[in-house]
């Protein structure tokens, strides 16, 4: 019990000492923290942009609409019945029926092919349904389309999901690239902290030697450096969160201007709480890992002479 208390007291001491050490060289510490912050802000910022693009895509409800052309001999009553059947499906949001007679009138009025149409026997246009599935996900839309295609009254389902699929694929690609950038920059952060700690170890080699001479264990010697790395990572991650917030703040007015032009109420979302927590905890762990690598590599080399 007493030894546990002693252990915790030592840790607290190390934590505070490490913070004091950072504060005692504000310029050098800030530079290191800034490098870490930029390395962490890049993937975090890119992640925010991809998240926003994904949200924009999800809000594009019209993207999933598709047209159903019924067989030419289906009557108006039957068309209305089919529309109700499809509209009653749980995965369909709504169905709009465009009556063939109304469509013909409209076509005649707007297309300028009135004379050509008169030459035809009867109305060449079929009844048309515009179906909006509840979910915009490609698989869900496909499922609805397949069900509709199986109805005996259906002649043709025209599904234009290709561009949605392409956009989704692009977003997935962008997301994967952000993942890769995250891994690379995490390695960079580890190396930056490791190198900083290596310099710190070199500059404190006399102290390390003396501590070893009076019986300090490897753990005792390593701990201050691990806490130093932890602080670097934590401070860098905190600064990265601030950088991302500032970048979003700077982007907000032009984004709103663009959204307004498109008549959309789209708003730029920031880093969610959960991901901010991941950023901060991850940054601290990376700092700790960098320090651990540096101590594992360099502390053993300093032996009393």
């Amino acid at each position: 019990m007493a030894s546990l208390r002693h252990y915790l007291a030592l840790h607290r001491q190390n934590l505070l000492d490490a913070m004091r050490r950072l504060a005692s060289q504000p310029f050098a510490s800030s530079l290191t923290v800034l490098v870490i912050a930029i390395a962490l802000a890049l993937p975090a910022g890119l992640r925010v942009l991809v998240n926003n693009a994904g949200a924009l895509n999800d809000s594009w409800e019209g993207a999933a609409d598709f047209a159903v052309y019924l067989k030419i001999d289906v009557s108006s009553e039957n068309a209305a019945r089919v529309a109700r059947t499809i509209g009653g499906r749980p995965d369909v949001a709504n169905v709009t029926l465009i009556d063939r007679a109304k469509a013909l009138e409209e076509f005649r009025a707007k297309s300028g092919f009135g004379d050509a149409l008169d030459a035809l026997e009867g109305n060449p246009l079929p009844h048309t349904l515009v179906v909006r599935p509840k979910s915009g996900a490609a698989g869900d839309v496909e499922a609805v389309a397949a069900a509709v295609r199986a109805l005996p009254e259906t002649d043709l389902v025209q599904l234009d999901t290709a561009w949605v699929t392409r956009l989704r694929a692009m977003l997935a690609l962008a997301g994967r690239m952000v993942d890769l950038a995250t891994v690379l920059l995490a390695i960079a952060v580890t190396i930056v902290v490791g190198n900083t700690i290596r310099l710190e170890i070199n500059s404190r080699s006399v102290e390390i030697e003396v501590v070893k001479l009076v019986g300090g264990s490897d753990g005792f010697i390593r701990r201050p450096f691990l806490y130093l790395g932890l602080w670097y990572g934590l401070a860098g991650a905190g600064a990265a969160a601030v950088i991302v917030a500032m970048a979003l703040w700077a982007l907000e007015p032009p984004v709103r201007a663009v959204a307004t032009l498109y008549g959309s109420g789209f708003e730029l979302a920031g880093l969610p709480l959960r991901e901010t927590a991941i950023l901060v905890v991850g940054g601290a762990l990376l700092g700790w890992a960098g320090a651990w690598l540096a101590t594992a590599r360099h502390l053993g080399a300093i032996e009393p002479k």
Binding site: L10, V210, V211, V214, G215, D218, F220
Partner: protein
């Protein structure tokens, strides 16, 4: 307490620093290790502190064969050993108190215990009241006494010192030796390497004389 059995130490450069050294220092004994520079005095002390390992032969400290102490067990071994250095090896970024407290902090003493022992050690070396000073503001002799306070604060069984008076004038040197004598009187085994024969010629303690890595003279052999 300190027992060397036919100890050889050869450095990777090929230089043989110790050749077949054997002696036995009893618990509570006080001995000087003398000899010209390069005779192997420092090497011998380094073998005791496990800074070096012997090439051949056996070094026993408190009946423990140092060859059997693994790298990971060296820290607790050193915690029971007081070492004084010619260059003091004080940490200049902390106070006198924190320097003396260092081995106690490492050993896991409580805050109260640390305060008590640091004050006691500083009192013994005559530096009580200087706890908050920076070592750099002290004279060389005072810095050496801080180094001694640090070595004795954890109450070690054995105290070894490498040229502790190397940079001091004769008066200060005598004071330092008196300090070591006082620690010896309370039962600490003391071994001091020095080349200052004038300083120690009037002292009654045993002398081990090293010449070119061999034990050339021993003024009084302890029983095995």
């Amino acid at each position: 307490m300190i027992r060397f059995e036919n100890v050889f130490k050869r450095y990777p450069s090929g230089r043989e620093a110790l050749s077949g050294v054997s002696f036995n220092l009893q618990r509570g004994e006080f001995a000087f290790l003398t000899g010209p520079s390069g005779a192997g005095k420092s090497t011998l002390l380094r073998l005791i502190a496990l800074i070096e390992r012997p090439t051949r032969g056996t070094v026993l400290i408190n009946n423990q064969n140092t060859a059997r102490i693994s790298r990971g067990r060296i820290p607790p071994f050193r915690q029971r050993l007081g070492v004084v250095f010619q260059d003091h090896k004080l940490l200049h970024d902390r106070s006198v108190f924190d320097n003396v407290a260092l081995p106690l902090v490492i050993a896991g003493a409580s805050r109260r215990e640390i305060e008590r022992r640091v004050r006691a050690a500083l009192d013994q070396v005559g530096l009580l009241g200087r706890e908050s000073h920076a070592p750099i503001t002290l004279s060389t002799g005072e810095q050496q006494r801080v180094g001694i306070a640090r070595a004795v604060a954890p109450r070690p069984d054995v105290l070894i010192a490498d040229e502790p008076t190397g940079n001091l004038d004769p008066d200060l040197s005598r004071e330092i030796m008196e300090l070591f004598t006082r620690f010896n009187e309370v039962g600490v085994t003391v071994l001091i390497a020095t080349h200052d024969l004038e300083l120690i010629e009037h002292l009654p303690h045993r002398q081990l004389r090293l010449v070119a890595g061999e034990l050339a003279a021993d003024s009084g052999r302890g029983d095995a």
